[in-house]
């Protein structure tokens, strides 16, 4: 098998579908993953991200006319997991309880008929790579390890084989917060230093944003949006993405007209302007999202003219440490959240109190035009 050209994606899903009975867990998705990339599948439970991963691993097969899964250019629909160049790390580690740490790590090497003499050395190197001291841990049994240690063994066991792709199924789910953050960084570093493609499944959007080169946000078997963390966060395409990642305020309205390069939208809460966007049509319905941190608060009479502004009453001021969230009740009773940076309430407090009249304002460029889900 000739080496494929280096610019070819290492993984390709072409119109892949997978049904369980009547339910389509994965619905006609097409994704390309690049070599060496840290690629995340992100979404709530039941969105199909784990099924997608298992299709890649080979534990599930696509429906009969459900598209093709390619690894390094080759169609692998029919290939068993042990015939694919993958490694996998599971949420509950799946360390073989009856084998010691070193036997666990050596397992794959034995299966691939690596020379006996080479194995101990590679095991030691793999354990060092995941920061487990071989001297201390090699002979331990899994029930003598903590959750974090077991996860490292699972990682070492998969990586020692230098697979082309490493699949990770919510591997940090059962680990406590502080250790989780450490391991997120370690995983990112391993990805970069080893050059192995990581395909990572998670429901934690913060985690995905931290680690990934690109993210596929999934919802109900479909890919809602695929892009870099910045693209996903700053330009959410649908209301689902805008809601699932971070926080958003939503405004609906009818497209009234175009004035130069800005469209005017008239909605029940007020009017606002949006920069030209191919998706807007005159007379059509529009929905936009604005993130709380892109908004600011002004006294209604002091609203800057070039910004969008909606007037309301302050319902709540919440102290969150890094930020101050101000919840403003707008015209029809809808709430809008504004996130203000906390510059020290004891030195420079925000001048807003419950009951004040205020205008939430944001630049038109910060409007995210949303598509249908």
């Amino acid at each position: 098998m000739a080496a494929p050209p280096s610019d070819q994606p290492i993984v390709q899903f072409t119109r892949v579908s997978k049904s369980f009975g009547d339910i389509k867990a994965v619905n006609d998705i097409s994704i390309e993953i690049h070599r060496g990339e840290f690629f995340s599948l992100l979404g709530p439970s039941g969105c199909g991200k784990t099924t997608t991963l298992r299709l890649l691993a080979g534990f599930e097969q696509p429906d009969p006319d459900g598209g093709e899964v390619r690894i390094a250019g080759e169609v692998v629909n029919r290939k068993r997991p042990y015939e694919r160049q993958i490694g996998m790390v599971f949420q509950n580690y799946a360390i073989f309880p009856h084998l010691s740490v070193e036997r666990n790590v050596a397992f794959g090497l034995e299966q691939h008929k690596v020379a006996r003499a080479e194995i101990p050395d590679r095991v030691v190197k793999a354990l060092e790579m995941v920061r487990l001291d071989p001297g201390k841990f090699s002979l331990r049994m899994p029930d003598q390890l903590s959750g974090g240690q077991r996860q490292r063994v699972a990682l070492a066991r998969a990586l020692v084989l230098r697979p082309a792709i490493l699949l990770l199924d919510e591997p940090l789910g059962a680990i406590d917060l502080k250790l989780r953050k450490e391991m997120q960084l370690e995983l990112k570093q391993l990805n970069k230093s080893l050059g192995i493609t990581f395909v990572y499944v998670t429901h934690d959007q913060e985690e995905a944003l931290t680690m990934s080169d690109r993210i596929a946000v999934m919802d109900n078997g479909l890919v809602a949006q695929l892009g870099t963390p910045a693209e996903i966060y700053e330009n959410p395409r649908t209301a689902f993405v805008a809601k699932f990642i971070g926080e958003s305020n939503f405004f609906d309205g009818k497209v009234h007209g175009c004035d130069g390069d800005q469209w005017e939208i008239r909605g029940p809460l007020g009017n606002f302007r949006v920069p030209g966007d191919a998706r807007l049509t005159e007379g059509g319905v529009a929905r936009i999202a604005v993130r709380p941190e892109w908004m600011d608060l002004f006294r209604p009479e002091a609203l800057p003219p070039e910004e969008n502004g909606l007037v309301g009453t302050i319902r709540e001021v919440i102290y969150l440490g890094e930020t101050i969230h101000v919840i403003v009740t707008l015209a029809d009773g809808a709430d809008c959240t504004v996130a203000l940076r906390n510059e020290g309430q004891l030195i420079k407090p925000v001048p807003w109190r419950k009951g004040d009249r205020a205008a939430v304002a944001w630049p038109p460029e910060d409007c995210q035009v949303l598509e249908e889900d």
Binding site: R80, Y82, M88, F90, A94, F96, P97, H98, P142
Partner: protein
């Protein structure tokens, strides 16, 4: 929340009720007196006499032959069934699962006489052979229950992990599934052996006249009210089966299977 005194006391009495008869039985197997229940002195006599009794020795031999054979066969059959039920999808699976539990609730009397009828109908001579056949039948369900529980408690990710590391289905089965299942299989086998060794009712129907298994011999001794030798053989049976059950229990709980 502390437990009320009367509750603990009551429970203690129940425990006494459960164990006292057996303790008394064991103690008096060492009593140096043929009749009566007054303690005379310590002796190994009754145990020695057991060794002289041909019927006991033959009965023991028969019980061992039947027990070991039934255990091995039912362990194999039962494990295979458990594997099929736990890992495969097939029509009639629920019906089969239910069917597997029926032997456990069926009164021994019913099982015994129905087998007697069958054997007579088939013209099979009643003896060790028919006893073994019967024992295999009821032991299978015990093995299935134990092994199935263990299989269902086993993390399927373990087998999947092995496959991502390059092991095909057969290798995964031998290197991962079987070693992890093994304590369950042994546990089920020990249980089956104990059930077979102790069985009286079913055996009594399918063994016909002539020499038979140990429980049949003991029953005869009880009926004829034989001297404290009964206590002696009972004690031995008690200790032997207790040991087996203890082992089966320890093995059944061995090692956590989920991380």
């Amino acid at each position: 929340m502390k437990l009320p005194r009367w509750l603990v006391g009551f429970s203690f009495l129940v425990y006494l009720f459960l164990h006292l008869p057996l303790i008394v039985l064991v103690v008096f197997s060492f009593n140096d007196s043929k009749y009566g229940v007054s303690w005379v002195g310590f002796t190994w006599d009754w145990y020695r006499r057991l060794l002289e009794r041909e019927d006991i020795l033959n009965g023991l031999k028969a019980s061992m032959i039947v027990g070991v054979t039934a255990t091995v066969v039912s362990a194999v059959f039962g494990t295979l069934i458990a594997l099929a039920v736990a890992r495969h999808r097939f029509r009639g699976r629920t019906a089969l699962e239910a069917f597997l539990y029926v032997p456990l609730v069926t009164p021994e009397i019913v099982v015994g006489i129905s087998l007697l009828i069958l054997f007579v109908l088939l013209g099979l001579p009643l003896g060790i052979g028919t006893i073994t056949i019967a024992h295999i039948a009821f032991c299978i369900s015990f093995v299935v229950v134990v092994v199935l529980a263990r299989l269902q408690g086993m993390d399927q990710n373990l087998e999947e992990a092995a496959m991502t590391l390059g092991a095909d289905e057969i290798t995964t089965f031998w290197k991962i599934t079987v070693p992890l299942l093994w304590p369950g299989i042994i546990s089920g086998a020990l249980l089956a052996f104990t059930m077979s060794f102790d069985d009286f009712v079913i055996t009594s129907f399918v063994s016909g006249t002539g020499s038979s298994t140990l429980p049949i011999v003991v029953y005869g001794m009880v009926r004829k009210n034989i001297e404290p030798s009964i206590n002696a053989i009972s004690t031995i049976i008690l200790i032997a089966t207790s040991l087996l059950i203890y082992l089966a229990d320890r093995l059944g709980q061995d090692r956590p299977l989920k991380a």
